[in-house]
């Protein structure tokens, strides 16, 4: 970026970002410096990409006019801890309105790709059209600035995401990091939930498939449609020395309250992944068998103390991150030492490819997660679509679908994952919304606005309805009832319309949510980082306003893509078949939801006017 001002909110045009535009059809590539229109453009991520998406009228995700936008955030590649994010944006093949129009989406992940991409000198790469042959994009740092090339990728076809990454790393060496799709994305016609994997140093050093993922919304499938199998970013390490100001911030991130719960237990932390299991189980709110907790102790079979007896758990971290939130699972050998790497246990995949499909054996759950990761699918969409199918089969013993799999039926579920990942099972690969429409039984398909919900019971989070890019990470209300005990209407309206939407700030600036998940990016910590890294003077109010505008722009874009207000709701089973086992106040009956909808829209609606440009194409 070229920064020619100290006041980005007042004078955004004095900040220029470097954009590459690749026409995949012709192979032409254009590089340009683009002046920022507003603070959202400066911050980056979806704050910028959604403004570009809003300029286009897209009626089908798989069309040449639908771009794939790859960008970073302002603090990606900086010395601020967790500054590793890469964003992938486009109109989604899986999320869409009932009118049949695709929704704009972004997905994001950490790993080392983001910083390497940024250090080449590029801030954004837009892929237009579709390549006639499989290609990968090579982005390099040169003496003249960033260079972008398209390379033939026939040799990568059919490889897993990890195999593609290892092959490209062997070719380009130490300064290279990779973003790649797996077989799922390659089979985009039948798999709408393809993810993009991002390589890590740990992966390349160990040879183990420890990638990170930009999972949500099928951005890997869009990449596959474009015949773009991977991106390689090759640059020197440009991490500059950390200033005392940023050091103080980083220390606060690691030692402060923000991340303590994510740190390993051995360091006095909460251990990450399993805190959600422990807490939600206390309320009998851990999703079980397609989001129907049974009021028993079944979920405890995948709690840490049970898992520890069967596998070795190692706490590891992203590159130069002190939070150490990864819980990597290894085979336990006879002498108790660690054997083969099995999978990374995050809460969502563990639950949705474990407890919520009736799998309570950690090694089996790890195997399913491992497959999902290597075919490179969104574990949330995959797990929830499978749990829908299993629920359907349980309800229809005489006419089961597909291979007749039932909850806990590991072998058959494994077969579903393999077939979905290789594009042979569109019923699963196209997601729960389409599958449930085909069966005619939609009430227990656990998606909102066409996108599967994460592993928090909808009974605990009516805020899902207004999440703009995935159920919990784009609307931070998932803990409002469980953690904060809020069950009154005012708190929910305030949470959805003001405080909890601020979580999407992390999807602009390049930081991971664990930087400060409770407070967001509108804090003195972020202000200090921006001042120290770029000499930018920004206030927390300016940041909050930019985040709010970006969120509202996302909401306005949903409405323009045909969403009706009736679609801002939860799966109907929540009120049609109330679950008495969940020990929390009931806030998802129809009366509560109706009032919530009325009051939330009363706040949002007046602010939506004028946020979107006229769509061109």
């Amino acid at each position: 970026m070229k920064i020619l001002t100290t006041h980005p909110a007042a004078d955004p045009a004095a900040i220029l970002y470097t954009r590459g535009t690749v026409d995949l059809k012709s192979g032409s590539i254009r590089l340009e410096d683009v002046p920022c229109r507003n603070l959202e453009d400066v911050l980056g991520g979806f704050g910028r990409s959604f403004q570009l998406l809003a300029e286009r009228r897209i009626t089908h995700a798989y069309c040449e006019e639908n771009p794939l936008i790859v960008n970073t955030g302002l603090l990606t590649g900086s010395t601020a801890m967790t500054g590793l994010r890469t964003y992938f944006s486009g109109y989604s093949p899986i999320k869409g309105s009932k009118k049949g129009l695709p929704a704009a989406m972004w997905a994001t992940g950490s790993g080392n790709f983001g910083p390497r991409f940024k250090w080449t000198g590029l801030d954004e790469l837009i892929f237009e059209g579709r390549s006639p042959e499989p290609v990968y994009a090579l982005v390099r740092e040169t003496a003249e600035g960033p260079a972008v090339e398209l390379k033939p990728a026939r040799h990568l076809v059919g490889l897993t995401s990890h195999e593609k990454m290892m092959a490209l790393r062997r070719e380009y060496g130490e300064g290279a990091h990779v973003a790649a799709i797996g077989q799922a994305g390659e089979n985009w016609e039948n798999v709408y939930m393809g993810a993009v994997a991002l390589s890590t140093d740990n992966q390349f050093k160990s040879g183990e498939d420890k990638m990170r993922f930009a999972g949500r919304g099928g951005m890997g499938s869009l990449m596959g449609y474009k015949n773009l199998l991977a991106l390689v970013a090759q640059s020197s390490d440009k991490m500059k020395p950390t200033s005392p100001e940023v050091k103080a911030v980083n220390l606060n991130v690691v030692k402060g309250g923000g991340s303590a719960r994510l740190q390993p237990i051995s360091r006095g932390g909460g251990g990450g992944t399993w805190a959600a299991y422990d807490v939600l189980q206390a309320f009998h709110a851990v999703p079980v068998n397609n989001f129907r907790p049974q009021g028993d102790d079944l979920p405890e079979k995948l709690c840490r103390e049970q898992v520890e007896g069967q596998v070795v758990i190692r706490s590891e971290a992203c590159y130069r991150c002190g939070i150490t939130c990864h819980n990597n699972i290894f085979e336990k050998l006879e002498d108790g030492s660690a054997g083969r790497f099995l999978a990374k246990f995050d809460y969502e995949p563990l639950n949705l490819l474990g407890t919520n499909i009736g799998i309570h054996d950690p090694v089996q759950a790890a195997s399913l997660i491992h497959l999902c990761d290597n075919y490179c699918m969104d574990s949330i969409s995959l797990g929830v679509t499978i749990s829908y199918l299993l629920s359907y089969n349980e309800r229809h013993p005489g006419s089961r679908l597909l291979n007749g799999a039932l909850f806990g039926d590991y072998e058959n579920i494994r077969e579903l994952v393999v077939m979905a990942g290789t594009g042979k099972l569109p019923e699963i690969g196209r997601g729960s919304w389409r599958l449930s429409e085909s069966t005619g039984e939609t009430s227990y398909a656990y998606h909102v606005k066409g996108l599967e919900i994460p592993a928090y019971q909808p009974e605990t989070n009516p805020g899902y309805a207004w999440a703009i890019a995935g159920g919990h990470m784009s609307m931070g209300t998932y803990g409002l009832l469980t953690r904060e005990g809020k069950s009154d209407m005012d708190s929910w309206v305030e949470g959805i319309t003001r405080t909890k939407l601020q979580i999407v700030g992390f999807d602009m600036i390049g930081l991971c949510k664990f930087f400060d998940i409770t407070k967001g990016i509108c804090t003195q910590m972020v202000v200090d980082c921006l001042k120290s890294e770029f000499n930018l003077e920004v206030t927390t109010d300016e940041l909050a306003a930019a985040v709010r505008r970006s969120f509202l722009r996302g909401l306005a874009l949903e409405l323009r893509q045909g969403y009706e207000k009736a679609e801002y709701t939860l799966p109907a089973e929540v009120w049609e078949r109330r679950n008495p086992n969940i020990r929390l106040p009931e806030i998802t009956n129809q009366q509560f939801l109706a009032e919530l909808q009325e009051r939330v829209w009363a706040v949002f609606e007046p602010e939506l006017a004028g946020l979107l440009p006229e769509a061109g194409a």
């Binding site: 309250g257 251990g271 805190a275 959600a276 990470m473 803990g479 005990g485």
Partner: protein, 74 residues
């Protein structure tokens, strides 16, 4: 007075799952947390008889106090 203290998740490590314990009439949840050496940075939720409560809330004889870690998403 006697209360039941329930611990959840990591708070059980080197402590207990559930125990009957004695506290003075004026005690608050914070007194329990401090006595048990639970780091405040890890404490996410306090329940008194199953309802959400604050750390400085008092409790009554016979109550059940549950201490849960933070839940963070992801």
């Amino acid at each position: 007075m006697q209360v039941t203290v329930r611990l959840v998740g990591v708070f059980r490590i080197d402590r207990f799952r559930e125990e009957r314990r004695c506290y003075p009439e004026t005690a608050t949840v914070r007194d329990i947390v401090c006595e048990l050496g639970i780091p405040l940075s890890l404490l996410g939720i306090v329940l008194i008889n199953g309802s959400h409560a604050a750390i400085d809330d008092q409790f009554r004889d016979g109550d059940t106090i549950t201490l849960l870690p933070f839940i963070d998403g992801g």
